[in-house]
Symmetry: C2
Subunit: 695 residues, 2 copies
């Protein structure tokens, strides 16, 4: 098309690198400006994060996306992070997909669909007892991704850079204290590792994501409660050649000579694939605590400690491979290249505290990830629970800091929800890792071990986690009248189960999760019944469509006020248009019947909905479901329902559709979480008196 | 997992940014080194590319990936490229997927599934006559992606940067000539647009991707042959509000007042979506050639030219919207923001020449994209045919330059294949764009127009293109005994139709295209029959498995010679291990029955294949197909077959499986395209005597 005449808008030039999610609105004063740089003495930051492993990087990325000022530091000077987790679970994948990162994870990582169980064979050697799906609960991804934690963190960090953020490496925390007053009451003393320079920064909140030996945890007085076992394990990442036929599946191998877990890992730079092998060391090597005597005699204590250390030192690479060779017989395994190896002792512990409050009772210091919970790597949980800690905390911190919720209403739910998960994690890991370490057929049966694996599927996949009731996850009027699985039901406290979806206006095939943005807003889904256009109910549904499309979003936002492009400081990437409401509405109808035939009457066009849906929310009218429409959710497609989803994808409340009205259940819930924003009239918020009055 | 002891390999540190595809091996001297920089006077480059639109950027990206030295220049000084194509067709998406770019395209672009036809309604206005799938041929993607060409080129260029390349902007070509001798016989005179500095570089090959007014085409003596019509069209990209119900579908709208094509486009930085509207201008505006009189009187010629110009100038933005409003009645359309607009005259032309040879008959200068063919934008072909020109040429140039084929064996097929496509494009566009411009029901019926759309589906999607026979796409012994569609059959000259696939070793669900790398190598697929393990045929299949797994790849490569990591100069991204064979083997078996039950006898483990498959090609043993196994390919799952696929994903040859042997049909074909590499003994190549002797 050689044009002879043309004219372009200037914005066209800035779009080549894509468009990022918009920031959350800010009703509080602008973020602090540090003219001498983020690491200058006296610099102020809304959040300081110590540690940039999976937990710290997820939190820092999300805060950066939301538009909160964050300083993330790590004492490591190299880019690579410590931590050797390697598994990404289905629920984590769902979230990474919503962040636009799953494709890169899929490209770099190795998917695992199956787990094989091998057990002692009569007459010697091992045999395959069972092969089953590694992921046993319904979810969008019926597999895990195996990929080194360092590469996962690299992927998170690259997106953080795209959004204008950057982690500072080679900076460690010396100490902190919470002062009695001030807008930035957390004083954090930091040190540059290489120069030794010590300086102080001030924060609204300090977050410790600094691992198992967390200094932040020590500072808040958290103690790790739990137990260590006697079992010593070796772990190695290697390129291997073997005739063991399940080497590219996750395997739980028990032989008379020991146990192995093998994990098929990602491709590395030589074009070959890693295998991770965990192997339990023989008991003559592996019993440090039995060598360790608790005594009042300091000399005896010292000797005992040295004996334990000496035993640990006996876990060497050749011994690990000896153990692997013995356990794997009659199969052979040859090592082409060792990428990494390590040794660890199994233990399960949870911190006694997650949070330190100031004297007003406001959460000022919080810990996440390994700083809160340590456990064995067997269930592939470390990186996931840590990233989800960060994901859970991020939007709550952001809403508090940006003034988008009643002050102090969200932060208490962090410990409530995540300490509960940590306790479940520890309980499951104790059973599962114990099963690995015990002799099959002697100390535990295959069936018992297999049962533990299957029962834990909801928890380990992340898809079955259910947060306890709180103001955020109210037990609500229950329109779930169809029988369904708890893993897919619309249940407050559980993640919204994604269904295949079709965007009505363009008949675009997609998935519900792909339509819901991960930009920190709430989402309201109005589930239309098949019969919503019937003469009897047409008017009441039209009113509900109007209320959720026009009234509610305006009450917690304002149309068009911030409707301008926004270019991040340090990049040329364009941010999307500002968020104009804290709650986005969606109209859903049940597939497979299309909306054209969903009514009892005439054909439906999307222009038949109230005009706001055509002008502002056209992309949010969606058919959902496969053969059963809403059935997996437990909602009767003849009745409909209404659902509010939290910014982290967790169902907040579920109601009968008649709660969609002034003064109904939906309004009460929304008022509870966003009430500070609500104005007296005309749908305009008045803010909290210390910033922009309209959202 | 807090480890108490660990040790890591140094390579771990460099993996955070992912691992890229390896370069092709090089049997010719190393690429030229230009100590004063790529734009210094006298600099040498293996390939110089003029123009960095979709054609030039695709070529430059692929050459960079393959490891060929390339200088890509564009006279534009801004990053944004000229050209306003906006459609990416299914076949192009398949290739972008193999390059690892489709996810980013999907993220930024808007998919289009449906096309709606609107026609004059009795009594005035318009009505919907039909809604149908926009993509009518089988392929992996049943949709197009709509995205501005500038953003598509940005995505290609970012990957080129990741691979260590970079396009130079603000540099135009002054002239070139092909000298009679030398290793770099193409002399190219360039000028920096801003400084005016003129300098000369030398290349093995010069490629013109410099658009409709190509200087390179002029330099090789190519003339644009074809016709212009009288129709003037306006085109506008805008954010609109409308009650026209199909605004988010592609629409062909004919009213009594004119024609519109509308295209639902991508989201832009204000969070809203663009719509592209093409509209035919009314005949009193739109007839420049009738205003233009061919005359011998210079004065009359000048006046006539001015009249034509004046008419063109009457295509203004307000007039375009006037025309849209008239055509769309009774629907209303309100414009929120105009992003770009232009005007053009429909014409269809093809260059008389694509190539300039040196006096030995070797192709030295080639043209691509709009430099070869111009046409209307209606069928959404411009960006696609251009990128595919670049994709077709890239591996042929690379194999020639790197010494991986008999000299001069591949380049002649570029013009043979792509000129044929250009002619089909022009023929189709003439019919289709004509149908748009004519009055429905008067000059053309809806059924005729609709028929043209449907018949063109194979060509416009890119999935039905078939290259003419040549040494690369031989008519071969035909094992396609089952009836099937030409669009899915394994037919020499057509693209390999991708089937769902399961990697046997890990039972990983994937798609065949996702397993086949886009790194410039050939792929041999041995299609096992269901019965391959039956006692009668077991031995002959085992021999074939061994021949394609061990003998053939070694003959055109060497195992382990280049088995080292390779870090690109300008980035920290790690390249994958070097390619050790120019032909990769794959063992396929038909799903849905798994390999475990595929034999007539015992259960099959992947370790039952010859050892080379376990040690070297474990990831290449795949079950393929949905309910019908090989049926879409036309291959009987009881018989099997063997297929060779070219580096661009086009089927080269298909044979009965008994051609898999020394001296068989497969060997003859491979010898023809890679013969230069073949050594006399032991599977070691001797090269061409001017470089590395072993591949």
């Amino acid at each position: 098309m050689p044009v002879f005449q043309e004219e372009a808008s200037p914005e066209m030039l800035n779009r080549e690198y894509g468009i990022l999610e918009p920031r959350l609105p800010r009703l509080t004063p602008p973020p602090p400006h540090n003219p001498s740089g983020p690491l200058s003495d006296g610099a102020k930051h809304e959040v300081v994060v110590i540690g940039t492993g999976p937990a710290g990087m997820m939190l820092s990325l999300m805060l950066t996306r939301y538009g909160v000022s964050v300083l993330a530091v790590d004492k490591q000077t190299t880019r690579v992070i410590s931590g050797h987790a390697d598994g990404i679970q289905p629920r984590t994948l769902e979230i990474l997909r919503q962040l636009g990162l799953a494709d890169e994870i899929f490209r770099q990582g190795n998917p695992n669909y199956k787990i094989a169980f091998w057990n002692p064979k009569k007459g010697g050697g091992i045999e395959r007892t069972a092969v089953t799906n590694d992921v046993t609960v319904p979810g969008r991804y019926p597999f895990k991704i195996l990929l080194a934690a360092g590469r996962v963190v690299g992927i998170l960090e690259r997106q953080m850079v795209a959004y204008g953020g950057k982690a500072k490496r080679g900076v460690e925390m010396v100490r902190f204290r919470v002062m009695e007053e001030g807008e930035f009451p957390v004083e954090v003393v930091l040190r540059e590792v290489q120069s030794g320079r010590v300086f102080t920064v001030y924060a609204k909140h300090l977050v410790g994501a600094d691992g198992a030996h967390s200094k932040v945890r020590a500072g808040i007085g958290g103690e790790m409660i739990g137990e260590s076992t006697d079992y010593l394990w070796g772990v190695v990442d290697a390129v291997v050649k073997t005739d063991f036929p399940d080497i590219r599946k996750r395997c739980a191998i028990h032989s008379d000579s020991g146990s192995i877990m093998c994990i098929p890992r990602e491709r590395i730079e030589n074009g070959k694939y890693l295998t991770r092998l965990y192997t339990q060391m023989e008991s003559n090597v592996a019993s440090p605590s039995s060598a360790f005597t608790n005594s009042n005699d300091p000399e005896e204590m010292k000797k005992s400690y040295e004996r334990a250390l000496a035993q640990r030192r006996e876990v060497t690479l050749p011994r690990i491979f000896d153990q692997v060779a013995k356990t794997l017989k009659p199969f052979k395994l040859e090592v082409e290249k060792v990428d990494w190896w390590g040794a660890y002792q199994i233990g399960q512990r949870v911190s006694s505290k997650f949070v330190l409050k100031d004297k007003s009772g406001y959460e000022r210091v919080l810990i996440m990830g390994d700083a809160c919970h340590t456990h064995s790597p067997k269930a592939g949980q470390g990186m996931n629970v840590s990233m989800m800690d960060g994901y859970n905390l991020s939007w709550k911190l952001a809403h508090e800091i940006l003034g988008l919720c009643p002050r102090g209403s969200l932060l208490p739910t962090y410990e409530l929800e995540r300490a509960d998960v940590a306790r479940q994690l520890i309980a499951f890991d104790t059973r599962f890792a114990g099963g690995f370490s015990r002799k099959i057929g002697v100390e535990v049966t295959h069936e018992e071990f297999f049962g533990t694996f299957r029962e834990g599927g909801g928890f380990t996949s992340g898809c079955g986690i259910e947060y306890p009731p709180s103001a955020l996850t109210l037990p609500t009027t229950n329109p779930l009248t169809l029988p369904t699985s708890a893993d897919t039901a619309l249940r407050p406290g559980r993640r919204l189960f994604s269904l295949p979806a079709t965007q009505f206006a363009g008949e675009i095939k997609t998935h519900l999760h792909d339509i819901l943005p991960a930009n920190g807003v709430y989402q309201l889904l109005l589930l239309l019944p098949r019969t919503f256009k019937s003469p009897q109910t047409r008017n009441s549904w039209y009113r509900r469509e109007e209320w959720v499309g026009a009234v509610l979003p305006d009450r917690y936002g304002g149309v068009g006020d911030h409707d301008t492009a926004d270019v991040a400081d340090t990049t040329t990437i364009t941010r999307g248009g500002a968020i104009v409401s804290l709650i986005y509405p969606y109209l859903l109808y049940p597939l497979p019947r299309t909306l054209h035939s969903a009514s009892t009457g005439a054909k439906v066009e999307w222009t038949d909905f109230p005009p706001i849906w055509r002008d502002r929310w056209w992309g949010n009218v969606l058919g959902v479901g496969g053969a059963g429409g809403y059935t997996p959710w437990g909602v009767d497609p003849e009745k409909g329902a209404v659902v509010v989803v939290r910014p982290d994808g967790v169902v907040g409340g579920v109601w009968d559709a008649d709660e969609v009205r002034e003064g109904g259940g939906v309004e009460a819930w929304v008022e509870g979480v966003m009430g500070a924003r609500r104005g007296g009239s005309g749908g305009r918020g008045r803010g909290r008196g210390r910033g922009e009055a309209r959202l």
